[in-house]
Symmetry: C2
DNA sequence: CCTCCTGAGTAGGTCCGACCAACTTAGCAG
DNA sequence: CTGCTAAGTTGGTCGGACCTACTCAGGAGG
């Protein structure tokens, strides 16, 4: 996936988070995991692949790699989400919502999205600049002048 | 990706749409593409890979494969989005929004999301059951009883 | 009739990346 | 000085992505 230079924002995002394991790594990170071995053990992902994915996440600003030192231990490295990385919760929640609806699981959802303040259930949707929600059928994707006219340029 | 039987809805969704090309195929489908050759030419994807991806999308209910016949031509097949497939616009828009914000492109966004009725710009976000938007920091992901306790079960 | 063209794939070979297991390196604990 | 652990690196295998060429069916044109 070397399409980071695509004019399509979807393709650019996918070049960062579209490889295998990456979004599952972000799921773990959002639930508080920061260390290499915990990612590896939680996901059973091969260490070389994990190294690779963490590096691209750091390279593109979704995570930071920072040394830390627990008392009585040597310096180690922690992977922390950046604000940009934290915003991927929208993508993850959208995938989760889709999976819950269209690929249901006998026991029901294993994770719910609720508002921290009110406890109300949440869903992911489209909102306009006045804060009112808009249904999927009212969403229009319009091309700007930046849209490429040549074929295959949207790759 | 044979994790369609995961208890995690994110992992299940990714087993359907998480492979390379799949979400780009859905992007084309959402902009009206229905035929094999048009997908292939728009994305420059290898035909065997395209066959494979279209089949899994059909298998899991995101698309249908239906024969059609243009006058003066033999029967061919069209790939059409199902309602479930159309709902993936939320995932695509979330990826697009993230890419526009964090991996910007010199010419600016090539596609905008606007409300069909009002023309107002749209973004993807969390909405509660009263229709009010909730900021990312107010989103809480809570585990239900269906959440697996064994390690690596969330894969 | 024979040939060409087009749409929708299938088939064969190459190569890269995921996977697995073993090894490494650095520091602390006993 | 021997283990133990965290955080990787390295080497080999194998499946899937990739590219090219081929197939197959039905018009259209000559």
């Amino acid at each position: 996936m070397t399409t980071i230079d695509s004019s399509c924002a979807i393709a650019r995002s996918l070049s960062v988070v579209g490889e295998r394991w990456t979004l599952l790594i972000m799921r773990e990170a959002l639930s508080g995991v920061t260390r290499f071995a915990r990612f590896r053990d939680a996901l059973c992902v091969a260490p070389d692949v994990l190294t690779n994915r963490l590096n691209t996440l750091v390279d593109y600003g979704a995570m930071t790699r920072e040394p830390y030192q627990e008392p009585g231990s040597r310096v180690r490295f922690a992977y922390a989400l950046t604000p940009a990385g934290r915003e991927l919760v929208v993508v993850l929640a959208a995938l989760q919502q889709w999976g819950d609806q269209h690929l249901p699981w006998p026991d029901g959802p294993s994770i719910l999205r609720v508002a921290r303040e009110t406890g109300r259930p949440l869903h992911v949707g489209f909102v306009d600049d006045t804060g009112t929600e808009v249904g999927l059928d009212d969403v229009d994707l319009v091309r700007t002048a930046a849209y490429p006219s040549s074929p295959a340029a949207g790759r």
